[in-house]
């Protein structure tokens, strides 16, 4: 024993969990959705994902090293997750240069200006996506129809997403007939579940996203509070609307499986940094996202509202953290 003994305050053992491992777990959970999207959109999907991930990592590296002059933090894997999530809410035929701009906004503006990992108030991937959505509305809303593995990058045939078809028809009052007509362009439930429909990369295959959720819950990467409260709220809210007027509203199951709701509820809203930290706070946050999503979907101008809903609730996170504290010990059971 020739080395000096170490001294530190207790505890002297630490858990195996690290930031890198948690982020890696999220990446694993996203893989089924990536596989599904490659299955339906071909290698173009992989190209978009790769461009997004690589440019996020590179931007993070460059900014930490040359602008912030800190040791680059790319090893923690958070940039990879941001890149994946950004790619997952883009259409598959988006030009590469737009993807790179999105990555720059996500990492450079939404994350690094606030001090990097742990300090950003808004979900970086969503900020990037919304920035692109507002700056390039045409490119961002042309959705290629899935044509399987062989789909080329630029020659994709485009079509409307389930939610945009619905959005145009809510006020016409013909939703039930639209859904029940064979051969209508509105995707059916099995298409929603397996993902064979138009839409952004990661949002199409409901089953793959649910697999990811199960994995993250099993690995204790996230808790049930946020996904369950979002999906539950959306289900209840849309059920009420649907029961009140079935001809101009779609049923809750359709709402849950369509659009970016599952992707948002499972992967975006649960982002550690921008979501509340106590169980009670998470539930309030989830309910808020659910309500805003349905409001935008059903009554707003945009067919999909989950991204805006999450960003709006991100803004409320500090407030929720301040007022909704965990239940302190000694407050649950009163005695004596």
């Amino acid at each position: 024993m020739n080395k000096l003994l170490k001294i530190s305050p207790s505890p002297h053992v630490t858990g195996k969990e690290t930031t890198g491992k948690l982020m890696f777990g999220v990446v694993i959970a996203l893989l089924p959705a990536l596989a599904a999207t490659i299955w339906f959109f071909g290698w173009a999907a992989l190209l978009v994902t790769a461009v997004s991930v690589v440019s996020c990592v590179i931007f993070e590296f460059l900014i930490t090293k040359y602008i912030l002059k800190k040791t680059p933090t790319i090893n923690d894997g958070s940039a990879v997750v941001t890149g994946l999530l950004l790619a997952f809410c883009l259409p598959v035929n988006l030009p590469v240069w737009i993807i790179i701009i999105g990555a720059l906004v996500a990492i450079g503006v939404a994350k690094m200006t606030f001090g990097g990992l742990g300090n950003n108030p808004f979900n970086p991937a969503l900020v990037g996506r919304v920035f692109l959505f507002l700056s390039f509305p045409v490119q961002m809303t042309t959705w290629p129809v899935p044509r399987g593995f062989a789909t080329g990058y630029a020659d994709a045939e485009t079509g409307a997403t389930a939610l945009s078809i619905l959005n145009e028809n809510y006020d016409k009052g013909n939703i039930d007939s639209l859904l029940n007509t064979p051969g209508s362009e509105l995707p059916g439930y099995s298409q929603l579940f397996w993902g064979e429909m138009g839409g952004s990369l990661g949002e199409i295959a409901a089953f793959a996203l649910i697999l990811g959720l199960i994995y993250m819950l099993a690995k204790k990467i996230i808790t049930w509070h946020i996904p369950v409260s979002i999906l539950g709220t959306v289900a209840v809210f849309t059920a009420l609307l649907w029961l009140a007027n079935p001809s101009s509203n779609i049923d809750p199951l359709y709402h849950l499986m369509s659009g970016g709701l599952l992707l948002g509820a499972i992967f975006m809203a649960t982002d550690y940094v921008t979501s509340p930290m106590s169980g009670r706070g998470m539930i309030v946050y989830g309910i808020g996202i659910g309500v805003i999503t349905v409001l935008i979907r059903r009554f707003g101008a945009y067919p999909e509202g989950v991204q805006f809903a999450i960003l709006i609730m991100n803004a409320f996170t500090p407030l929720i953290n301040t007022y909704l504290k965990p239940v302190r010990f000694g407050e649950e059971v009163k005695h004596g």
Binding site: P9, S10, V13, T19, M277, K325, E332
Partner: protein, 444 residues
């Protein structure tokens, strides 16, 4: 479903390497260093002087005030000097240093092996005896036991809880006591019940010690009012408030003692010490210490005289392995790292753990990713991440409002943090700052 406390908690690897090694008696050392402050409260004041001959069990320092404890010589021999010696923190503390000569015990001590079950002393006499014999909490907090053996006026106590949880990884000394000294332990519990005037006692044991549960359950049939309750394994179940919550579903309010909800908690080791003090007239001069570590040749449980250098224990267990990077006095979650094995064993030393480089070195800390795992892990329902930020900015008022003083420093937050942030280090700092402000305010 086994009982446990519902909020928070973590599951560190148990690593109970020495759970099957019976307690061995460590030979008396050449020299002992006995600090006069081995308990919470006022240090004792030495009553011997240089050159005095003492017997094992003789008082060498008397407790000062109500919350204090007598210190007895653990060996027979000559007082070499009374001087300031470094204790396990590296700070110097007044200690009595005795050169060992032979092993002559105070004749008043009954050293026979027979278990005396008949309790002849009255409740007041029990409290007085424990005070005289320097009994302190053996779980590690070393709170003078006599204070917890009488119910304060105006309060009621209806149930006694005995802590046999030993939720700290590695440690097995309580485990061995429950197996080997069950009858003494239960007699000790009966004595404490008599002192407190309660009819019922529950011994809480985590179910990773099935042999201890079995042993005590079968023995307890012969004692009235004592039951054994297995608990599922979760750290920090040995925390007083958590144990009370797990066993009898009562929550001690913030800043209050267990007596507020009609109960008192004692450790199994304390119960045996109380038994020895009351029935055998034996002061607290030796205790069971677990010596363990992954690379240690022979992890074991030793009966050690107070004041023995830690180095003697390690040598008995096979010597310091080459890979040792940290030596911890106590459990891995709440114990204190010591800078040299020359420091003495004290009344609160429940274990000596030798950590390898791989286990001991902390990971570099990263930025907080707000994952909320510390909140989930906190058994007191606090927000460690927030307390750390507040502590580093010395915002005492906010910290008090966020109930920083409720923190029992169990270390679950630092354990679970994926960014390896030193949460508890800063929370302790915050507790110091806040405690100072509170004390100043109450003095005004």
């Amino acid at each position: 479903m086994l009982k446990t406390f519902p909020k928070g908690g973590v599951h560190p690897p148990e690593n109970k390497l020495s759970s099957v090694s019976p307690v061995e008696v460590l030979p008396t050392p050449q020299q002992v260093v006995i600090p006069v402050s081995q308990h919470i409260g006022a240090p004792a004041s030495p009553v011997v002087k240089k050159g005095d001959m003492v017997k094992a069990g003789e008082v060498i320092a008397t407790g000062q005030g109500f919350v204090s404890a007598n210190i007895h010589s653990s060996v027979s021999g000559k007082v070499l000097k009374i001087d300031k010696m470094p204790d396990s923190t590296g700070y110097k503390q007044l200690s009595v240093i005795i050169d060992v000569e032979g092993d002559e015990w105070d004749p008043a001590i009954d050293r026979s092996e027979t278990v005396v079950r008949e309790i002849s002393l009255s409740a007041e006499e029990i409290v007085k005896r424990c005070n005289a014999m320097g009994i302190v909490g053996m779980g590690g907090a070393t709170f003078p036991s006599h204070v917890k053996l009488s119910v304060p006026p105006g309060k009621k106590c209806d149930i006694l809880i005995i802590n046999g949880v030993e939720c700290e990884p590695y440690l097995t000394s309580d485990h061995r006591i429950m197996i080997e000294r069950g009858e003494e332990l239960l007699t000790g519990v009966t004595i404490i019940m008599k002192a407190l005037g309660v009819e019922r006692a529950i011994i809480g044991i985590e179910n990773n010690k099935p042999d201890a549960i079995e042993n005590l359950t079968s023995l307890a049939a012969a004692f009235s009012g004592i039951s054994v309750q297995p608990l599922s394994v979760k750290y920090p179940q040995g925390g007083e408030k958590q144990l009370i919550r797990a066993l009898i579903k009562r929550e001690v309010p913030s800043g209050k003692l267990p007596i507020e909800v009609g109960t008192v908690v004692h450790n199994v080791g304390t119960a045996v010490a109380v038994y020895e003090a009351v029935q055998k007239n034996k002061p607290l001069i030796e205790r069971v210490v677990t010596v363990t570590g992954k690379d240690l040749a022979r992890p074991c449980n030793l009966l050690v005289r107070i004041g023995t250098p830690v180095a003697d224990l390690i040598n008995f267990a096979g010597g310091i392995p080459e890979s040792t990077a940290k030596i911890v006095n106590g459990g891995p979650m709440m114990g204190k790292a010591i800078s040299t094995p020359e420091v003495p064993v004290t009344k609160g030393t429940s274990g000596i753990i030798l950590f390898t480089e791989e286990e001991a070195v902390r990971n570099p800390s990263g930025p907080c990713i707000r994952c909320g795992k510390c909140i989930t892990a906190c058994a007191m329902g606090l927000e460690p991440f927030l307390l750390m930020t507040l502590a580093s900015r010395a915002l005492t008022e906010r910290m008090e409002k966020e109930r920083i003083m409720d923190c029992m420093e169990c270390g679950s937050c630092s354990y679970i943090c994926p960014a390896s942030r030193p949460l508890l280090d800063y929370i302790r700092l915050g507790k110091q700052l806040t405690g100072k402000v509170i004390r100043e305010r109450s003095h005004k």
